[in-house]
Symmetry: C2
DNA sequence: GTGAAAGCGCTAACAC
DNA sequence: GTGTTAGCGCTTTCAC
């Protein structure tokens, strides 16, 4: 049998309430008894039963995190940041990792509700429809969405300024003298990808460049294979690009593989910039990538959740996060005369 | 207010017990009432409160998973597999990710105990001393260790047959005609690394080869940087190797970077095999790697936990898992006359 | 077939 | 300063 509060009380010859006062450090307890109770707690290694606390207080002190399994590591990074931030506020995180398109949503949402989580963070969960989120809201469970968000009342959002991120990346290429710049991204079904594509187009527009249609490779999803296909197309373009901006490091993996096979070098033969700043550091060569401040994202997510727990009716807010460019020198300097 | 069992009972005009019988599908309930109760449950979207269930049954239906944050993705894979296996048995997983050497252990163990997890899976947690594991055992919480294990009574283990894995990798190189084969691993503080090194040595011994001391690069830890340093040493060896076996894909990242910088190609100039089969598929070129069957590991971990929950006194057992060689053709065929 | 009731371990309002 | 007590939502034994 595990030791419980009443055991402590009995051993110390006091009531449950007094033990409770010592544990929560509130109310008056004589110094003498306090010492004695603390001694017994330490000695017996008593740890309060969170389940009982949860039942009593209608707070589980557990936060749910719905995320995707993904070969890229950004979700792992966010998950880690969320865990750390939650722990600081005395919460634990129940992470449910969904495999895209698996139809596990209902079960997962029910599991979270069943455990009476105090809030839910949804990270880049493309597959999760508003209906499921509604199930949480009905029950007054605060929800924060990260990166791929819906504009729903009562749902707070953390929005990465992807337009600025991709614009900065493409501008970096422009400053280095590139004018034939290609884009590799996923289908424009989601806001993130729309923004990243818009950033690309805007930066070019500022420079007075109209990109060839062939230079925009919009792939069905994020994968190494998609990266391979994209670069294959680009290398066969009527006018081939001198630089390629990709909306995910996972595309970069495929791109680098094809270049490697053909004996083309980065940045000598082609300049590259990726996105997420996760895998990019591990590749050959390590590539410049747009990075996200993961800890900041985790902190904000928890903060928004806590805010809404205190005041469930507060109107939804949207926190903007600025990405940064992690330069690993994979954009080559080009001379004027070389440009198109 | 969330809806609860008594609400269902009231709406159906029956007692709590009858609703309970319907929910758990045991005991006799008239078909009529059953239908009515089921209808109301569906209509109201009632979801049982796991916290109350947990308190009553002294079972949280939560399993703890202690793991490491790591740029390699093996833990993410294992985590995913554990989640899936747990879900199949009606459990959820509370994953606590530790950053090596951070001293978070006590807090994390206490959190798990506080939540009264029904069992704990410990994955490759080099930093976790037996003392902390003892805290769990004292409380009769079943523990399964994966990969880096201690030989403790009542602790079940999942042991990867790393000796066989690395032996197979090195034999593969030998079959292809290599005789100058180098080893890049982490310090031999842990059994995994000892086994992997032993497999390397045994395979060479079988072939009657005595490796140069310089060919064994035992690095302080797993990192890209360590991979870079190791290959640097190997390229400057008195007699340079034609093939390199690495105990982690993360080393391969660094190795490939250095080779790339020097214009050396894989497998033309150097043959490579990695370990874990995670990052290896993403690199340029994708490299042959020793892979672990992650789902199997997750399944076994959960199975062992469930077994011990039923029968806490059962003697500790150790499940062996065989790795496999994922061939991506990064070991070049060598002619006889080229060998040493 | 169905219901009443005790109690899981803890919290907090209230009484002394 | 300290103790008593009424639940939190559910399970399950026992009685009818």
């Amino acid at each position: 049998m595990t030791i419980k509060m009443s055991d402590i009380a009995k051993a110390a010859g006091v009531s449950l309430a007094t033990v409770g006062r010592v544990l929560h450090n509130n109310g008056y307890v004589s110094e003498e008894k306090r010492q004695e109770i603390e001694r017994i707690i330490k000695e017996t290694g008593y740890i309060p039963n969170r389940i009982a606390q949860g039942l009593k207080k209608s707070r589980s002190k557990i936060i749910g995190h719905l995320t995707l399994f993904n070969p890229n590591m950004q979700y792992q990074e966010i998950s880690s940041a969320v865990n750390a931030a939650a722990a600081e506020s005395g919460y634990q995180v129940l992470t449910l990792t969904c495999h895209q398109g698996s139809g596990e949503e209902e079960q997962q949402i029910n599991d979270l509700i069943g455990h009476r989580v105090d809030g839910v963070i949804i990270t880049s969960y493309q597959a999760l429809s508003q209906e499921w989120i509604g199930r949480l809201l009905e029950r007054q469970i605060p929800v924060v969405m990260v990166e791929r968000t819906y504009d729903m009342p009562l749902v707070d959002r953390i929005v990465v300024n992807d337009l600025a991120g991709s614009k900065e990346a493409v501008r970096h290429m422009l400053h280095k003298g590139h004018r034939r710049i290609a884009f590799v991204g996923a289908a424009l079904d989601y806001q993130v990808e729309k923004d990243r594509y818009a950033g690309y187009l805007e930066a070019l527009k500022e420079a007075g460049i109209v990109p060839l249609e062939q230079w925009s490779q919009l792939m069905p999803g994020y994968s190494v294979e998609a990266g391979r296909k994209a670069i294959d197309e680009l290398l066969h373009a009527r006018v081939s690009p001198t630089a390629v901006f990709m909306t995910s490091d996972i595309f970069a993996c495929g791109v680098l593989q094809v270049l490697y096979e053909r004996g083309l070098r980065v940045p000598d033969d082609l300049s590259l910039i990726g996105y997420d700043n996760t895998l990019s550091a591990l590749l050959s060569p390590p590539i410049t990538s747009v990075g996200l401040p993961f800890e900041k994202i985790g902190d904000h997510a928890i903060r928004l959740l806590l805010r809404r727990m205190e005041d469930p009716g507060v109107s939804a807010c949207s926190v903007g996060i600025d990405p940064f460019l992690m330069d690993r020198h994979t954009v080559r300097e080009r001379q004027e005369e070389q440009s198109l």
